[in-house]
Symmetry: C2
Subunit: 490 residues, 2 copies
Amino acid sequence: ATSTSNAVFSQNKVLTIDTMNPNVKNVEYAVRGPIVQRAVQIEKELREGVKKPFTEVIKANIGDAHAMGQQPITFFRQVLALCSYPELLKDNMFPEDAKSRARRILQACGGSSLGAYSASQGIDCVRQDVARYIERRDGGVPCDPDNVYLTSGASDGIVTMLKLLVCGEGASKTGVMISIPQYPLYSAALAELGAVQVNYYLNEEKCWSMDLSELERSLAEARKHCNPKVLCIINPGNPTGQVQSRQCIEDVIRFAAKEHLFLMADEVYQDNVYAEGCQFHSFKKVLFELGPQYSNTVELVSFHSTSKCYMGECGFRGGYMEVINMDPEVKAQLIKLVSVRLCPAVPGQALMDLVVNSPQPGEPSYTTFMKERTTTLSLLAEKAKLTEEILNTVPGITCNPVQGAMYSFPNISLPQKAIKEAKALGQAPDMFYCMKMLEETGICLVPGSGFGQKDGTYHFRMTILPPTDKLKLLLAKVKEFHQKFTRQYS
Amino acid sequence: ATSTSNAVFSQNKVLTIDTMNPNVKNVEYAVRGPIVQRAVQIEKELREGVKKPFTEVIKANIGDAHAMGQQPITFFRQVLALCSYPELLKDNMFPEDAKSRARRILQACGGSSLGAYSASQGIDCVRQDVARYIERRDGGVPCDPDNVYLTSGASDGIVTMLKLLVCGEGASKTGVMISIPQYPLYSAALAELGAVQVNYYLNEEKCWSMDLSELERSLAEARKHCNPKVLCIINPGNPTGQVQSRQCIEDVIRFAAKEHLFLMADEVYQDNVYAEGCQFHSFKKVLFELGPQYSNTVELVSFHSTSKCYMGECGFRGGYMEVINMDPEVKAQLIKLVSVRLCPAVPGQALMDLVVNSPQPGEPSYTTFMKERTTTLSLLAEKAKLTEEILNTVPGITCNPVQGAMYSFPNISLPQKAIKEAKALGQAPDMFYCMKMLEETGICLVPGSGFGQKDGTYHFRMTILPPTDKLKLLLAKVKEFHQKFTRQYS
Ligand SMILES: Cc1ncc(COP(=O)(O)O)c(C=O)c1O
Ligand SMILES: Cc1ncc(COP(=O)(O)O)c(C=O)c1O
């Protein structure tokens, strides 16, 4: 009824669902989709006194650490306060290293104010600090600050790079290879740009690893109808929580070199590695270890962000990208493109600087900083283990180890009757399942269909971010719900 | 030579100037173009001790108030410091109203932290405060917070709206009417989206006003080859500094209604009105005064920002847009679209909140706030007058009154010999002029060709932002340069 009356009402409008940009219409974004909208409604109903079989909504739908109670790093926030209100520099309440960091950042700002636009590529000294951080991280592989671009979160960088790369029509349209399951920013950006999404499937049986044969299959298939130019990898993985092995990364780089693909490495979870035997290997480091034949030719961009790792500072929208082997003419075009929006938010740039230039041994804030950082990362490791273990006790749920990032993506077996009922409602079966879970338990998860999955398999994504007690409660409720759901539809 | 060797080098690259998105290649952005890049180089040369006929570069190329020494509003920065580092709430050094604003903002943030993602449309209570601000500004015309979207600066809102509106190919491609001269974000966004830029000329003889007949000419012309759907207005104007009369706005609204055009009103300079007899009239207010026939039908979006007015807080990238009469289905699409990038930077949202919910009479910070605000705006008014007066004393320079915004856009007559020499170099004549001025005086202006102008006329844009002393020096140097330049090429 609503849609009919809207249609009548819209007839006189310039901008309607029928006249708007069709690419935008094709965009989907499950992380903030119908489940989350319903969760917000339910919270409102609870506040208004509506009776429910639960008293609060527990959100495990989005990698938003502070929203789940994680505390910010004291040092970062001290420096941000000092930069915001430099009068505080006169005060004795802040440690000297916080003050000197703040002075250094302010000196690099126009008029010594966070309120001035920065260079569009980002503040010079921040880009230099990022370069030194990357060099340390990668055991001395050189990094040129001119290759570093500060961004408004990694999202901004990813969309900007795809925008540069996408062109053509019909069979020569740019194809972009993304993992399935994927973080839906990628599919959304590709839809918006009208590019061809080329799926390659992660191997769930082998802990969501990448198979060379699957990459080959996917590429060969894509070449029949588009021009695949880009290969995107998320490592550590969202939504799947795997950490790729060094061997795998090497294989991917050789594959990209051989097949003439531009590599986009989303490495925003680079500090989030928990499983024993796992380690973060940056694409750049492995590229350089493969020797000049690779390191002088393969085009690579890597993304990082203030939103994840131990910081969890999503709201500041800080991030950077490093481009490697990018054509100098294209770099000039990239700088021009980012100039149009003037600059990334300066407080986010300042925060990115603190992340790559954190307190050092001997500085007054070092001990507290390290304690806070370690506590957060150990808690995450503990919750990763807990999640995997409890989920695997549920008959009908199979969960790979959460090796890294902030998510588990368990496989759920759904009874035929449930699948039928969902399809009759025009819903993906795991959407039907998650919506029912939300209504009955107050737990907000995202259905696997929002990220993509092999046909006939069903999953959900849940974050490991709730505080341990709440996480245990959540997992117990998921267990109970799954068993009840299975009985109900068998 | 460079371009040949690059071309050879590029042959093996995936991403080259020839394979990249051609729409991005078509983007131009003069405000940060070649002149500004050269200015940055010259600053570096000065630091390295290279001898020049001047000792510092004076930048009058961009509306970046803090970079030119304008001080931030104390209250705003106090609240931002409190929000960044809530430990400070325990301190006695901050006024109570700053603390209560900070508490209110933090309560509205996930986990009471600026570090949590907000709702994609923006924090609820900030949108409510924006709505109340708009109602006060517009003498009670109602504003629904659901129509308010927080953005990363106005730039973000403008690009997002254009993205929604643009579609079609060939003769049915969306045409977007923009003023000439324009703020080049518009032409850049249209190039990127592959839309048709439809120019209408402002009337320089009548102080850059909008002529109905010119709008009609432009639209009729455009209808021959595209589908014009959108009319953009910047008021107060950038780069032209005019403030449109109420009558003019009424005419534009009637025109949009009659011609079925979607209105985009860029009102980021709404507090920057200096000239006697001039007043800011919001498009929304005038729309509602025209009665329900208009206020129930004409689709309008208005943009605001923390970057301009008396705040000048560009680096925080705060802003909002209000949509009026937008189709509900399109609104849902808009929310989905903004979800993909998660949310605008939260410190910028907090700052936007402070702007629309500033200290009130009776609150401890009120007096200081009003003093700071008034001082900044009076200084700007003084500098607007000064700029106009001094420029008009120069033979060959004609300058309209700077009624509002932060710019003057004087007409400069250039000798034929200079025009010829510029053309021989493949440069726009006013680019040639501005580049010479930069090299000889250290003054950085933007040539009129970067904004668009009537064929055969030449201009430059200069901001009125430098401190009064420096502005006087700058104007004296411009005068001297112009006279010398005229002599040299006569
Ligand atoms: C894999 C991945 N990439 C990018 C992002 C974007 O993060 P942001 O834009 O906050 O940096 C996220 C956020 O969850 C993510 O999981
Ligand atoms: C007319 C106009 N609109 C929009 C903007 C964008 O400003 P921001 O993105 O900083 O809000 C500017 C900046 O100068 C402007 O002059």
